[in-house]
């Protein structure tokens, strides 16, 4: 709106301001950024007059000015004290109370943003004088809003609070109070919009004798250039190179360079990176962090700062269940006491807890598990979290008002030694101060909300931290990066505005959903009306063109696969290239490194041989790994490379296997012979199974399997009993009677110079004195896994060759014990020994054709196992998976072996077609 206010230009304004406080001039701006920039301009002006200090010019955002008037009025003698003007946090809390009290509260997906939108609607309605008349609200959303607004107003009335949306209206009658400092001149700078509400206040002010003037900037006679670039990345890069070119060309003098980025919130980090990389290419590898000549005027949500995030996680953990990953983060947080001293120990504890923890846990169980696994090497941690658990018991349950919670939260943080032993850097210092401020603000919610429980308190605090947009202070630098709003009214030597595509500028209209759009449009709210938005944005665009002697307006021509057009507001300008504007290119760090020719390739396919003599750790699994992939065996068995695990619900298949093994072992320890098995009555059998299950579960529980504690454990008990029942049925069917002579056996075996311990699940003595060795399997199993080169399952062959009574062994068998598939599979010297177990010539597979008979099988086993052993002993570490796609699919060594380098088109292709046919 071009207004009817008297005008002055900036130099007149500065002249007036330089008269000092006596002139009683106040300058108001639409935002803080502009106020700061004016103060800086004024300082330059004063400096040019040779002054080193002067009476501070009164320049501040309009909002702050109104708040100051209110505070002054509070001190003035009037009819009793003024009501409390709610702070933004309190105001939001009051709205939240209103929404929560309504019938929608439970159903809403995200309450917080809805609350903010209500607040915005309420402010809009007051600022633009939109009557909130139920008859004029046509839709359900509007009606819900009215309901909330009524609640909000009622609460304010009852509590005697003043409504921030009406500050301007409430101030008008107070302007005459004695302590209220009315300026003799109120100068307005940079207002693209003045709402009717503001206008009324200004008119009141004028009526009391103040002069209200508008400050116009003198347009620079700029030649605006439009630059079209391939994509957003190229655009940012060009702007960065432009900024560097201009800064360099200014040769020592400090020009003001502005870069306006409309979607700054989203592209912030990209912009920052591009600028830093172009302006100071080496900044990321410098020994000490160099100062960067630019500053981005956009904060981040406070809860995204690790310091604050961790504080919130501590609070979460202190009061309720937390996910394991969050607990893990707290455990390894740098912001609690002992974080450095116990750093490695805590990481170790974490890795250990991961093996058997559940995805969700409580503070108590966290501490309990920590004590069990980590007592002794993380004393500080255990001590503090034990105290935290005690504190929780005594102090964190009862409902209380916000200030009470603030105190409790602080205490919880104190107990864990927040913010840690590391010296905070200046950014962290400021963040900490801000965090305290937020906590203090949270405490003041007691003015608007009553008592609340832990969950709600924590949620609100978290939300306040999220909604607090914070940016640590930055020094004054030549290049300013800002969003559209902050750019209003500022002047520069060089200005670049990017992102001006036709779908982004003019801004698409985004009316507030709680107010009727027609009313918003009628009131002239730009965001609700394409036409008004076009007008406003046209003015803003003109403002940019006038804001500096050099103005560049840019846009991308592609986004992903879509083509883009320039904004219609700049399309009339002829397109130019950055080069035509004299923008130079600069050497970049990454490219400089890339152009090095420093890669060598050496042979390194084996490590040193193993020490001779003694037993090698790893058992038969070592041979299994060696068969699958020599590198894997080297990494796992010699480098002992393991990854960390992610807690999952329930037991993993390994634990389930162990459980089944334990169960069957317990069963055969008791039953021992088929004869006994056959004689076993039904009820006798049941109680035996129950006993065995308890024993097996006990073993796993003893190893810390958290999952087995509750109902899941009961299900698992039922499952192993069911399976064992089915399995015993198989055993009953065996035609050749047997006695279980071993339910577990170990022996040392040696192949190719590697001596390992071979374990056996079970050994049966068959009628007639022959022996069968048996391996329980809860997964898939095939006889083929014993055959050919590099056998997949060498365990039984190894035992059969090297175990005690090796000569008497006449059958090797898998006992497949899994739901729906309970059977033996194996090979034997002669037929008919066990069901599912046959001689090699009865095995029908391609691999089996290479064998003549049992002796042939045994001989070949020895041969293959010796080959594997020798390779391992020699330190062989070829990256040679037996079957690329399958072997590598679940191998945890894939980063270490560098298979990606060796099979560039997808070794682990198992995921490849996950997206259906896509």
């Amino acid at each position: 709106m071009r207004r009817d206010l008297p005008q002055m230009d900036k130099s007149q304004l500065f002249e007036r301001l330089s008269e000092g406080h006596g002139a009683a001039a106040t300058v108001v701006t639409p935002n803080r950024r502009l106020a700061q920039s004016l103060a800086r301009d004024f300082a330059a002006y004063q400096g040019s007059r040779g002054l080193a200090s002067w009476e501070t010019a009164d320049i501040l955002p309009l909002e702050s000015w109104m708040k100051r008037l209110w505070e002054e009025a509070m001190q003035a003698d009037g009819d009793g004290p003024l009501p409390l003007l709610l702070s933004p946090a309190q105001e939001l809390a009051a709205w939240e109370e209103a929404v929560r009290a309504s019938r929608f509260a439970k159903e809403l997906f995200a309450l917080g943003p809805a609350v903010s939108q209500c607040r915005e609607a309420w402010h809009l309605a007051h600022a633009w004088r939109i009557p909130l008349d139920a008859r004029r609200i046509p839709n359900d959303d509007g009606r819900a809003f009215l309901e909330w607004a009524a609640h909000y107003e009622r609460t304010l009335r009852e509590r005697g609070h003043a409504d921030p949306a009406r500050t301007a209206d409430l101030l008008a009658p107070l302007l005459g109070r004695p302590r209220v400092r009315r300026p003799s001149t109120l100068a307005m700078v940079g207002f693209d919009i003045v709402t009717p509400q503001q206008r009324e206040l200004l008119e009141k002010l004028a009526a009391t004798g103040s002069a209200v003037v508008e400050v116009m900037s003198v347009p620079h006679k700029a030649r605006a250039a439009r630059v079209a670039l391939a994509d957003a990345k190229a655009e940012i890069d060009a702007a960065a190179r432009w900024a560097r070119t201009r800064l360099e060309d200014a040769a020592g003098s400090s020009p003001r360079i502005g870069i306006v980025v409309p979607d700054l919130a989203r592209s912030r980090s990209r912009v920052e990176r591009a600028l830093a990389n172009v302006l100071v290419p080496g900044h990321r590898i410098a020994a000490t962090q160099p100062a960067l000549p630019f500053n981005v005027s956009l904060g981040l949500p406070l809860d995204s700062y690790p310091l604050v995030a961790d504080a919130l996680y501590v609070i979460d953990l202190a009061g309720a269940h937390a996910s394991f990953e969050h607990a893990s983060r707290v455990l390894r947080s740098p912001f609690i006491a002992g974080a450095h001293t116990e750093r490695e120990a805590r990481a170790r504890l974490d890795a250990r807890l991961r093996r058997r923890a559940m995805p969700e846990l409580s503070l108590e169980s966290f501490v309990r598990q920590g004590e069990a696994s980590g007592n002794g090497f993380v004393p500080d941690f255990i001590d503090r979290f034990r105290r935290l658990a005690e504190f929780r018991k005594s102090d964190l349950f009862e409902a209380r008002v916000a200030s009470g919670w603030a105190r409790a939260f602080s205490e919880a943080l104190r107990i864990v030694g927040f913010p840690g032993e590391r010296t905070l850097d200046s950014r962290e210092q400021q963040t900490l101060v801000k965090w305290h401020e937020v906590l203090a603000q949270f405490a003041t919610l007691e003015q608007v909300s009553g008592r609340m429980g832990f969950q709600l308190a924590r949620e609100r605090l978290r939300r306040m931290a999220r909604e607090e947009i914070f940016q640590p202070k930055a020094p004054d630098v030549p290049i300013q990066v800002m969003g559209v709003l902050e750019s209003a009214g500022q002047e520069f030597d060089h200005l670049w505005v990017m992102g001006l595509t036709d779908d982004a500028w003019p801004l698409p209209s985004r009316p507030n959903p709680f107010l009727p759009i027609a009313a918003q449009r009628a009131a002239g709210i730009a965001q609700a009306d394409p036409a008004a938005s076009l007008e406003l944005d046209r003015r803003i665009t003109q403002g940019w063109m006038d804001a500096a002697p050099e103005v560049v307006l840019s846009h991308a021509t592609m986004r992903k696969e879509s083509e883009l057009s320039p904004s219609p507001l700049i399309a009339m300008l002829p397109a130019e290239t950055p080069e035509a504007l004299g923008v130079r290119s600069f050497a970049m760090l990454r490219e400089a490194m890339r152009s090095l020719d420093a890669v060598e390739t050496i042979e390194d396919g084996a490590g040193p041989p193993i020490a001779t003599g003694g037993t090698t750790r790893g058992g038969t699994g070592l041979f299994k790994d060696q068969a699958a992939c020599p590198f894997r065996a080297f990494a796992k068995r010699r480098l002992r490379a393991e990854e960390i695990e992610t807690p999952r619900a329930g037991l993993d298949s390994k634990d389930r296997g162990t459980l089944m093994h334990e169960m069957l072992r317990a069963a055969w320890q008791r039953i021992q012979t088929q004869e006994r098995l056959l004689a076993l009555g039904e009820s006798e059998c049941e109680s035996l199974l129950a006993e065995c299950a308890e024993q097996a579960l006990g073993v796993l529980r003893g190893r810390g399997a958290e999952a087995l504690s509750g109902r899941y454990g009961e299900l698992e008990r039922a499952r192993i009993m069911r399976l064992t029942r089915a399995w015993l049925e198989e055993e009953r069917k065996r035609k050749v009677a047997f006695t279980v002579v071993k339910t577990e056996d170990k022996c040392e075996v040696e192949f190719g110079g590697v001596k390992v311990e071979a374990r056996l699940d079970r050994k049966d003595e068959l009628e007639g004195g022959r022996l069968a060795v048996i391996d329980y399997k809860t997964g898939d199993c095939k006889v083929a896994a014993w055959l050919g080169e590099r056998p997949d399952e060498p365990q039984l062959p190894m035992y059969a060759l090297g175990g005690e009574d090796a000569g008497r062994i006449a059958a090797v068998a898998f006992a497949q014990v899994r739901t729906g598939e309970t059977r033996f599979r194996g090979i034997s010297a002669v037929g008919g020994l066990m069901p599912g177990v046959c001689t090699i010539d009865e095995v029908r597979s391609k691999a089996s054709r290479q064998y003549q008979n049992w002796d042939g099988v045994v001989a070949r086993w020895r041969q293959e196992l010796d080959v594997l052993g020798r390779a391992f002993a020699a330190g062989e570490a070829r990256v040679d998976p037996k079957n690329l796609a399958q072997t590598c699919a679940f191998c945890e060594q894939h980063l270490l072996c560098r298979v990606a380098e060796k099979a560039p088109f997808g070794a682990a292709s198992s995921d490849e077609d996950a997206q259906s046919d896509d």
Partner: protein, 1066 residues
């Protein structure tokens, strides 16, 4: 060259095209490949513009963002052309020009300024439409605040599934149900989680179905009906002359099992052979097969228990999902669509959008209608609810059911067929079929016509998604090229890869004018390229692979991932060893072994810093390690201070990571990875490393830079909507390799009853009900495959190369076997079989899996440290301001704030007292201000619990000052006095604003005074004041300097303590 779009040319389907522009009627348009439907859409849009009041009244819905921007761009271009260019003489272009002209006039008369506010052209994807609807209806949609859209919500589905499963430990009925479910799935929590997560991902499909009546009785009734109908169908076809056994339904099932072989494909021979007249009857065989597979009439109790648990848990799972979405502030597109539906539905039918949007949607255009989902269809029904013919509102849907290939994204081609027959909701649609093909030359079009008449079903069926083939009429004349079928035999994938390379090379060299013809290699699955890509590379053919290479397979990304994992967790030993083996460090195996502690509990980071251990390394290894160690130390220290991406990227650069990459494209890969890392990290860490790692495998490497002379490689899905001069489709015999089972299956019978079946228990045999429904699903897939083939074939302008591999049977003299019906080749077989000749089958070379030999199995790629020297590019020269560490000691408790707040209130009141030169101020007056003081304290943020004490302190301070002689002197009248005097000055070169509490100046001397509200208990009072004086001395010196009065006397006043310190002056 002739351009059919602009030349005087009458398309064979001209009447239809003209009719489709009638803005008073609603249409459904079938537009086969190459029929120029986009132009038609634009024309319709322009035509509509000239009859609406506001442009927003037209809603155009596209399938992709790209299509939306393209369509909007073309509308704007048409408007611009009509304003600035002369009318083309004739053809489609002239028609477009005329329509645009009319739209412009409308624009001018109503003042829309369309070309300036392109946003008013509501051309958007259905997802964007849903988002904008829910945004305007926060309460009706129950969204409140809009979540962020997340394209890959896999992790959230899993989280919700875990939450559901965790309920097993909680009290209540749900726990029992979760327990039943777990029992059904063999108590395998991981499997259950996966099944539930998949079910949630596809909730769009079943949500509405499950809200219906699902009691056992009605479900079993439906089951029984299906059995009855099936047997009746059999009996209807029973040959009149043949004897018919009198059997009940179960009897028929048993009988058919006797007569047919296990797979139901053949008649059994003796002794259970069917009687004469029936045996070998080809009509009865398929009918009997269906009967044979019929389920029992009732669920077994176990089945029902499981199904019932699933049905009852489904809504709870949905609720959990919403909690998870809300927790993360994210939601998938489906959620937006479901919420939009919810907002639009109300008792009276549909919410009146006029009241919400302030305009009415009067015309809707939908592109790619064949890929509509149930939810989207429902949304259209709601948007058009109450529309009547002739009321000035129209619906215009365009699509090609023959190109419906997005079943995995919930597309349901049956909806197109349904709309064709019955319209959408209350809107009847007039069918229009386009048949002109402007793209391919006649040779290809004719081939496609003849081949696909067989590939596609003979009759359309909405239920099974069967789409009939519609012939196209070529507009471009026959030209050299055409369709080539390349036969291969017996898993000869290497031969095929070679052929692909050869054909591609030849295709690219065609044009005489030096320009390159465009060539594309299209595959059904990425895995079909396994051998093709290395072959292309070997042959030196440049290619651009669109979303083919998983980022996880790129070495640079793998290294960055290792670095991320190592920095994220000190105990991740694999990751730590990996970063020491990576090219930037490049330790040999021997050195790694020397370094890695036997004891696994000792972290590698501890080992790396253990000098004694380092002594065991080779000298070269030590050097390498030390260099790496420094960087890692920095990275670990930066944790919690910078974003994780930043930490990782800095470390990567410091290690000279970019020097290790093999090609420039890997630098781009690194960027893609790092950007992804940044998107996934939350306040500096990755909440779930495993999930993150999985998400990386779902990212794709950027295609190599585009250049004119390169072959495009992509999936057929990606190629939809594109065209190329030559198209090569290898791997036709490949399978899609997916046979996943879902937690439950459902289908609607012809008369709308619902069939539902739970997955069979883990380890159990497939169950008949489930399998019966699953067969329908398979039928749908089979139909879609035919369409996929159609999409591939119709991408070609001039040449189409089809390559497939068939097996020859050694036992039957090398006869060619018909390929599996689940492969594209199987679908195409009738049209290409004649190209495959019998012959001697070579040995099956496939062996165990695919065998592409690994390169460099024993070598190590690494940096040569001696060649690492380079100059760091210089930064810009500028004058950096001096950084001053400003460190006020921080009280580590928010409670400390109260005294600060008291201080500020005291200052304010002292200012007032001084302003009024103490006139009329005394204890009684302070007392009268009690409420005002309390109010200022509350406004300043003092909490209730401390308010009394704080107010007392303020009063004490004021009274102290009023009663203390020093206070009286200080606050009393002085010449040239100022309170809260604000100055701007420079401190150490930095501009600062300062506030001087009080100052005055007479002829003799000037005073600068600061108030301090410190309190002090107990002894040592004087000492305390001295200490305070020392502490604040610099501050007051600064004030004096700023005032330009170095000779001013300085005073510190402590109203609470009635204390005073002064110095300076003279």
């Amino acid at each position: 060259m002739r351009n059919p779009m602009t030349d005087a040319f009458v398309a064979p389907d001209e009447t239809g095209r003209r009719r489709a522009l009638d803005v008073s009627r609603s249409f459904i348009v079938q537009a086969p490949a190459g029929s120029g439907k986009t132009e038609l859409l634009i024309q319709r849009y322009l035509a509509l513009l000239s009859c609406v009041e506001r442009p927003e009244e037209i809603a155009a819905i596209t399938f992709t963002v790209k299509a939306a921007s393209e369509m909007r761009g073309r509308v704007l271009a048409a408007l611009r052309a009509a304003r600035t260019s002369p009318r083309p003489p004739e053809g489609q272009a002239a028609r477009t020009w005329d329509l645009a002209r009319a739209a412009l006039e409308r624009d001018a008369s109503l003042g829309w300024k369309l070309e300036e506010s392109a946003d008013r052209l509501k051309v958007q994807t259905i997802d964007a439409l849903c988002a904008s609807l829910t945004r305007q209806m926060p309460v009706l949609s129950r969204f409140g605040g809009q979540p962020e859209v997340i394209e890959d919500a896999t992790a959230l589905f899993s989280e919700a599934a875990r939450e559901l499963l965790a309920m097993v430990e909680e009290p209540g009925e749900e726990a029992t149900r979760v327990a039943s479910l777990l029992r059904h799935l063999d108590n395998d929590a991981a499997a259950a989680e996966k099944l539930i997560a998949e079910m949630l991902a596809r909730r769009d499909q079943w949500l509405r179905t499950l809200l219906r009546k699902t009691d056992r009785e009605s479900l079993e009734r439906a089951l029984d009906d299906v059995r009855r109908v099936t047997v009746e169908e059999l009996l209807e076809s029973w040959p009149a002359q043949a004897e018919r056994p009198q059997l009940d339904m179960d009897g028929w099932i048993a009988q058919s099992r006797q007569w047919l072989t296990g797979d139901g494909k053949k008649w059994r021979q003796r002794p259970s052979q069917a009687p004469e007249g029936i045996y070998e009857n080809d009509v009865l065989l398929p009918l009997l097969r269906v009967v044979k597979d019929l389920p029992a009439a009732t669920y077994s109790d176990a089945q029902w228990e499981a199904l019932d648990a699933m049905l009852k848990l489904a809504p709870i799972a949905i609720a959990q999902l919403q909690v998870v979405f809300a927790k993360h502030g994210k939601a998938d597109f489906t959620e937006f669509a479901l919420r939009a539906l919810r907002a639009l539905e109300c008792e009276e039918g549909a919410t009146d959008l006029m009241l919400v949007l302030d305009y009415r949607i009067r015309h809707i255009l939908v592109d790619e209608f064949q890929d509509t989902s149930f939810t989207q269809f429902k949304l259209l029904q709601l948007l058009t609810s109450g529309w009547e013919p002739g009321d000035g509102r129209t619906l215009f849907v365009v699509g090609d059911p023959m190109q419906s290939i997005y079943r995995f994204r919930e597309a349901e081609v049956g909806l197109f067929l349904q709309a064709w027959e019955r319209g959408v909701g209350s809107v009847a649609l007039e069918p229009v079929t386009l048949s002109a093909n402007f793209r391919s030359h006649a040779g290809i079009v004719e081939w496609v016509n003849s081949a696909f008449a067989h590939v596609m079903p003979q009759a359309a069926d909405a239920r099974t998604g069967a789409v009939k083939y519609e012939r196209s009429h070529p507009v471009r004349p026959e030209a050299p090229g055409g369709v080539h079928v390349h036969p291969f035999y017996d898993y000869d994938s290497a031969g095929q890869a070679r052929a692909v390379a050869d054909v591609a090379r030849e295709a690219m060299q065609r044009r005489p004018d030096g320009s390159y013809a465009s060539v594309a290699i299209l595959v059904r699955n990425r895995s079909h390229l396994f051998e093709v890509l290395p072959r292309l590379r070997e042959a030196g053919i440049a290619y651009r692979a669109v979303e083919i290479d998983s980022l996880g397979h790129r070495p640079t990304v793998a290294d960055l991932l290792a670095l991320t994992r190592a920095v994220s967790h000190l105990a991740d030993r694999v990751a730590w060893l990996s970063i020491l083996r990576a090219p930037w460090c490049g330790l040999t195996l021997a050195d790694l072994l020397a370094l890695a502690p036997e004891d696994q509990r000792i972290t590698m980071w501890e080992a790396i810093r253990d000098e004694a251990r380092l002594a065991n390394l080779s000298a070269d290894g030590r050097m390498r390690l030390q260099r790496t160690r420094e960087v890692l130390a920095r990275a670990l220290d930066e944790q919690g201070r910078r974003g994780l991406r930043d930490v990782i990227e800095r470390a990567w650069l410091a290690l000279a990571g970019p020097a290790c990459v093999e090609g420039d494209v890997e630098l781009e890969d690194a960027d893609t990875y790092l950007d992804h890392l940044e998107a996934m990290e939350q306040s500096g860490w990755l909440p779930d490393l495993r999930a993150f790692e999985e998400s990386v495998t779902r990212l794709f490497a950027l295609p190599d830079l585009a250049s004119a002379d390169c072959v495009q490689v992509m999936t057929i899905h990606k190629a939809k909507g594109l065209e190329f001069d030559s198209v090569i489709v290898p791997g036709l015999a490949g399978q899609s390799g997916r046979d996943d089972r879902s937690l439950f299956m459902w289908m609607e019978t012809a008369d709308g009853a619902l069939l539902l079946a739970p997955i069979q228990p883990s380890g159990a045999k497939p169950e008949a009900i489930y399998e019966m429904i699953r067969r329908l699903d398979k039928t749908k897939s089979a139909h879609e495959m035919g369409r996929l083939l159609y999409v591939a074939a119709t991408r070609a302008r001039s040449r189409l190369h089809l390559m497939g591999d068939a097996k020859r049977d050694s036992r039957r003299a090398g006869a060619v076997q018909e390929p599996a019906g689940t492969s594209l080749l199987g679908k195409l077989w009738p049209a290409v079989a004649r190209h495959f000749e019998p012959g001697d089958p070579r040995r099956n070379t496939r062996g165990a899996g695919r065998t592409v030999p690994l390169a460099a199995q024993t070598s190590l790629r690494r940096l040569d440290l001696t060649r690492l020297a380079f100059e760091v590019p210089a930064g810009v020269a500028w004058r950096a301001p001096e950084e001053r560490e400003e460190r006020d000691p921080i009280e580590f408790s928010w409670v400390g704030d109260t005294s600060r707040r008291v201080g500020s209130v005291v200052h304010r009141w002292l200012q007032r007292v001084a302003d009024e030169e103490m006139r009329g101020w005394n204890r009684a007056r302070v007392e009268r201000q009690r409420d005002a003081i309390r109010a200022s304290l509350v406004a300043a943020g003092v909490i209730q619990a401390e308010l009394d004490q704080a107010a007392a302190r303020v009063a004490a301070a004021l009274n102290g000052a009023l009663e203390d002689p020093r206070g009286k002197w200080l606050l009393g009248p002085h010449p040239n006095a100022r309170n809260e005097y604000r100055l701007t000055t420079y401190v150490d070169g930095a501009r600062r604003d300062i506030v001087i509490d009080r100052m005055w100046e007479d002829l003799a001397e000037a005073w600068v005074v600061d108030y301090k509200t410190s309190s002090h208990e107990g002894a040592g009072f004087e000492k305390f004041l001295d200490a305070e004086a020392v502490r604040y001395r610099p501050q007051l010196e600064g004030y004096a300097a700023a005032l330009g009065k170095p000779g001013a006397r300085r005073g510190l006043y402590f109203p609470l303590l009635k204390g005073w310190r002064e110095w300076g002056g003279g």
